[in-house]
């Protein structure tokens, strides 16, 4: 009996017991759809996170004081430290910036009572090379701005639109209020931040860049800085550089092995996130695998029932010339068709479900063709595994006994 013929016969047999077939498929449907959903959301998140880090330069590192009660005046990172590190690691560093950040507010130009939250970052003139920066108009902060502590600002486009209602605001004044102190900056550049694939939680503060020196004065810092960010040259081992830099700092501050400094690499964070995603995916994958196994057992059970129910039919088929192989293939294909259809339905539900979930929790979903192929193959294999025993049982029936079966 040829293959297509067998599938047709199997479909006919399944159609006769529509409800039962559907219930049998349920385990497979649940298993496959959850695999597809989880993998789609996992891949989507991973892709988004990775491209997010690409935007900020995957090979950049941060050095900062560990958040702790035990940090004293003499432990604080200073501009001197920054310059020393810059010199020592000149060969490894592509671009660098000290960072002093604080939050402030500004008001809408035509609605004075409406505050706009600001994320004010005092940065160096190389900062635009440390991160992926896209200037729309004007310029970035210059060395001159830093040296002479100019009150200039580079702002993001969204802020321009929100505050002034237009994009072209070069030369306009931006007043930033912090603790009731207001400082006014001249806008010298407008940039567009890279599009984030990951959702922002709540209203995002708008980003403003001003010279580090100016920020230091606003915060009344003598020489302290908050962060140092370095983007590294190609093929430089980020973790290694972090270790060496911390060594230099500890020697300089005479607090060796006291854990006053901390370094993070974007790569390291990326790795952690990817690791977490991997664990999450494999846990849900294991659950899905269990439900597939349960689904397989369900199929085996229903196939055994079916073989018993159709013993006479098997006898008839054998009496008119079906060989063992014909019967085996017939029941095996029936099992595969159940699991295969279950797999297809599960895949469809999985795709729809991942889109819905993605819509609500604002995480991107990407369903790869590979996942679909693997899911289909897997459900087919479940069908074969589950169908083998019942089909073999059917094939081995003696024609006379089967015909006599009541």
């Amino acid at each position: 009996m040829n293959f297509i013929e067998s599938i047709k016969i199997a479909l006919k047999a399944l159609w006769i017991n529509k409800m039962r077939s559907l219930l049998t498929m349920l385990g497979i449907i649940i298993g496959i759809s959850s695999v597809i959903t989880v993998v789609a959301l996992g891949n989507g998140t991973k892709g988004a996170v990775n491209s997010e880090f690409d935007n900020y330069g995957a090979s950049s590192i941060y050095i900062f004081n560990r958040y702790s009660e035990e940090i004293y005046q003499e432990d604080l990172i200073t501009n001197r430290d920054y310059e020393v590190l810059g010199r020592i690691f000149e060969k490894q560093i592509e671009a660098k910036s000290a960072i002093i950040n604080y939050s402030g507010v500004t008001n809408k130009i035509n609605d004075v009572k409406k505050d706009i939250n600001l994320d004010v970052n005092g940065v160096g003139n190389e900062y635009d090379k440390v991160i992926n920066f896209e200037l729309i108009s004007g310029r970035f902060l210059s060395k001159q701005d830093i040296v002479s502590r100019k009150n200039v600002a580079v702002i993001e486009k969204e802020l321009a639109i929100e505050k002034f209602g237009k994009e072209d605001v070069l030369g306009e004044k931006l007043s930033i209020k912090r603790n009731d102190e207001v400082k006014t900056f001249i806008i010298v550049g407008i940039y567009e931040p890279p599009k984030s694939l990951l959702p922002a939680m709540g209203e995002r503060a708008k980003v403003v860049y001003i010279p580090t020196t100016t920020a230091g004065r606003v915060l009344n810092l003598s020489d302290q800085i908050y962060f140092m960010q370095f983007s590294l040259k190609k093929d430089v081992d980020a973790e290694n550089v972090i270790m060496q830099m911390i060594n230099v700092l500890e020697r300089k501050h005479k607090n060796i092995d006291q854990n006053k400094f901390q370094g993070e690499s974007a790569e390291g964070q990326l790795e952690i996130i990817n690791k977490v995603m991997k664990i999450l995916t494999s846990v849900v994958g294991a659950i899905a695998a269990i439900s597939l196994i349960v689904g397989g057992i369900g199929i085996m059970n229903i196939m055994l029932v079916s073989v018993t129910e159709r013993t006479r039919e098997i006898g008839i088929r054998k009496a008119i010339g079906a060989t063992r192989k014909d019967i085996l293939i017939q029941f095996l294909i029936e099992a595969i068709v159940i699991s295969g259809i279950g797999g297809v339905i599960g895949t469809a539900i999985g795709i729809i479900l991942s889109k819905i979930v993605s819509h609500f929790i604002k995480i991107p979903a990407t369903t790869g063709i590979l996942v679909i192929i693997i899911a289909t193959l897997f459900s087919t294999m479940v069908g074969i595994a589950a169908g083998m025993y019942p089909a073999n049982k059917a094939a081995k029936l003696d024609p006379i006994d089967a015909l006599r079966y009541e």
């Binding site: 006769i16 009496a319 008119i320």
Partner: protein
Amino acid sequence: MIKLDKIWKVYDTGKIKVEALRGIDLEIKAGEFVSIVGASGSGKSTMMNILGCLDRPTNGKYKLNGNYIEGLDEDELARIRNKNVGFIFQTFNLVPRVTAFHNVELPLIYSRVKASERERRVTIALERVGLSDRMTHKPNELSGGQKQRVAIARALVNNPSIILADEPTGNLDSETTIEIMEIFKKLNASGATVIIVTHEMEIAAITNRQITFKDGKIISDKLNNCRNYEV
């Protein structure tokens, strides 16, 4: 074409052994029209199952179309059942829930005949039994006589050399019985060897040769003088 040599069939059900056939010697030539009669339990069905290669004798030799059945494996027997033998049962034994057409088509599917050729041959077979207008009916939508016609169409669709019918009219009324017997007569006339088990002497009388079973043995084997069957 059929040659039985001291065929024994013993059912061993544990406590007791039932000797259903006790040393049957029999020869049936191609084109014969034979009836087998005998009391209930005398071994007629057992005999038919062995003739149709559905069952194997416990002892003895069965030569069919020149081949000894003893030496054949399961698949070869399946092939013989498919190509050389057409079996018709008292209880029709149609595959439930599929159409008459598909039932008749099954032997052709198992002998890997192409779909277009299958359609042609199924159509012809159903025409021969006068059921062209019931092709898409399922067994539960057919009368007893119609079911048996479908079974006959299925038995003859692969042009077997032997037609075996175990009480084919046992579940049918007398009028339908006549119609079914007419079909067997025509089949025999067109060259097939037809062997029918029956309880009814009128039916046995239609055939050319009548074999009587008793307690697993043949007690009489005689030729009929070709009377016509009349109600």
